[in-house]
């Protein structure tokens, strides 16, 4: 008997921890942007780039859900990891209030992660707005493992200059950074996907693409890569009530090996998916 795809992946295999993480630092990074550094040794030890944590700063009924945040960096030696967020609405307003020494209920590390494509020579990381943190984490872990002739290229896009995230970090790693803004306030005027198109024009065969940002951007990235034959991994955004694989609220449509479609969970099988697996509506 053959079971549907979902049946084979229920039994969440990874190691995750539910614990009160202590705020060790809470840095304002731009007008509305913060880096929250949490002490949680088991999470710091196991976090892989692309994975996320579910945070609950306060026991409120509204906002009700925890929210997912990608891991920006993790230092297993110090037992700390951090997330980067921009204040948008009630939840992030509450999060921004957390003082040093307080605790944030945390579940993680969760989900899938970016896997380096070892046959590629150019690793192209496409970051849309607040999608930069997991790619920064990925770049920082990938950089020391690069062989001679391999390189990391960051394509960062946002609507405006002030919504670009993490440029200094990426540059500090020694990666080449190219920038696009919708309004032309910084770098190329237009979409970051135009930059990708351009970069893959010359020779797509030596490239691998890793992307995180708004789903509409990811759809275009996936499309370009599939067309050019470049391997591509995208980290999707989805509403996540639980983040731990039980509610099925974060459904993502995927193609099954037998030619059908089924829903996978962005929080367990994702958030990072191989582009060829996804079915965009």
């Amino acid at each position: 008997m053959t079971l549907p795809v979902a049946a084979q992946v229920h039994f969440v295999p990874m190691t995750r921890y539910e614990l009160p993480a202590v705020v060790v630092e809470h840095r304002q990074r731009a007008t509305n942007q913060y880096e929250l550094i949490l002490h949680a040794p088991p999470i710091a030890a196991r976090a892989a780039p692309g994975q996320f944590v579910m945070l609950r700063p306060m026991r409120t009924h509204a906002p009700l859900w925890r929210r997912p945040y990608s891991i920006l960096r993790a230092n297993p030696d110090k037992g700390v990891f951090s997330v980067f967020y921009s204040v948008q609405s009630a939840f992030t307003e509450l999060l921004a209030l957390k003082p040093i020494g307080s605790t944030v209920q945390t579940l993680g590390p969760l989900g899938s992660y970016f896997v380096p494509v070892r046959t590629a020579r150019r690793h192209i990381l496409v970051a849309g707005g607040v999608g930069a943190p997991p790619l920064y984490f990925f770049a920082s872990r990938l950089m020391p493992t690069l062989q001679a002739g391999e390189q990391i290229l960051i394509l960062a896009g946002a609507r405006r200059r002030d919504l670009l995230v993490g440029l200094d970090e990426f540059r500090a790693l020694g990666a080449e950074v190219r920038i696009a803004t919708d309004d032309g306030s910084h770098g190329y005027k237009g979409y970051v996907t135009d930059l990708l198109q351009h970069v893959l024009e010359t020779d797509p065969t030596d490239a691998a693409v890793y992307a995180c940002g708004p789903n509409r951007m990811l759809q275009v990235v996936a499309h370009i890569c599939l067309e050019r034959g470049a391997p591509c991994q995208v980290s999707l955004d989805a509403p996540m009530p639980c983040g731990m694989g039980v509610c099925l609220g974060c459904a993502v449509k995927v193609a099954t090996p037998d030619g059908g479609v089924w829903y996978k969970r962005a929080c367990v099988e994702g958030p990072v998916f191989r582009a060829e697996e996804l079915v965009w509506d």
Partner: protein
């Protein structure tokens, strides 16, 4: 302090180690929580609703956060009852869980066939008939809000199984008591209430519904007063039937309120997402409450608020 209180909950033929269960669809198949929650400490694990064949569920977005609650239109995504019996049930048994299987169907025959398969499997303590899922265009809801249809399904399933039978009812038809009475008359041994309430949510920025299927089921703290109202009303019309209260429970105090209103057991739903260890915290909180106030058992507080 006195002795440790008696936490047992007796629901007809079904005796649970304590009255705290996790609600259908909110705890996955149960096994997903094994690393975070000792399943053998729960009164029972109610599985997500099982159908005869795998169901893909509704298109996303399927969930939306609302004030103190959420809307869902998952559409009963599940791998089907066979996959559950082969893949999941052994793992639940291994984890020491008391398993209540939730049965769903689009037709009376489907309910009967799913129930029959589950009663032949080893390790199912009871069946809960999901007569109330508001997401189904054809199935669930119609059965649960009409007393005659409720009675037909319960009677048909009753023929197909010897397992204790729980009828889970919907608040969307107005008063629940008529359907509850019909279910009991047809052979249900306990009534579980409430399932989610119909609702919609609109995205003002995009000028569209926030759920792809437009209508969803509301759950979470926002529904607690409604769930408690229905529990109290049905308690009045069915004074001797075991009742399972569900809707908006997110603390031990919430659970105690349901028991005070006459619930034999309480289910935790949406709160599992927010705090994965909440069900066990509620078990402990209930035990502490009984101890602190000198009650010998859960039974001793049931129905104290009339």
């Amino acid at each position: 302090m006195g002795l440790t209180p008696d936490m047992q909950a007796a629901l007809g033929r079904l005796t649970l180690r304590n009255p705290i269960m996790v609600a259908a669809g909110t705890f996955g198949y149960g096994v997903e929580y094994r690393d975070l929650v000792d399943l053998s400490e729960l009164g029972a694990v109610v599985t997500r609703s099982l159908t005869l064949t795998p169901r893909m569920g509704n298109p996303p977005p399927r969930v939306a956060e609302t004030p103190a609650g959420m809307l869902n239109a998952i559409g009963l995504q599940n791998d089907g009852v066979d996959a559950f019996i082969i893949e999941t049930l052994p793992r639940l048994r291994e984890a020491g869980a008391t398993v209540i299987a939730s049965v769903a169907g689009e037709t009376l025959e489907e309910y009967v066939q799913v129930a029959a398969k589950l009663s032949r499997a080893e390790g199912v303590a009871a069946l809960e008939l999901n007569l109330s899922c508001p997401n189904q265009a054809r199935g669930g809801m119609e059965f649960g809000v009409q007393p005659e249809l409720t009675a037909q399904v319960v009677a048909a399933v009753r023929q197909a199984t010897d397992l204790p039978l729980i009828a889970k009812l919907s608040p969307n038809g107005g008063e629940i008591a008529p359907a509850a009475q019909a279910a009991v008359a047809a052979g249900a041994e306990a009534i579980c209430l409430i399932n989610t309430l119909l609702g919609v949510a609109v995205d003002a920025h995009r000028r569209q519904f926030r759920l792809a299927s437009k209508v969803g089921g509301l759950s979470g703290p926002a529904v607690k007063p409604i769930a408690q109202y229905h529990l109290w009303r049905v308690r009045q019309s069915l004074p001797d039937t075991p009742l399972i209260g569900v809707g908006g429970v997110s603390s031990a105090e919430d659970a105690i309120e349901f028991i005070l209103l006459g619930a034999h057991a309480v289910q935790i739903g949406t709160a599992n997402y927010v705090q994965p260890t909440i069900a066990l915290e509620i078990v402990q909180g209930l035990r502490d409450y009984l101890t602190t106030h000198g009650f010998p058992s859960v039974d001793a507080i049931r129905g104290l608020v009339q």
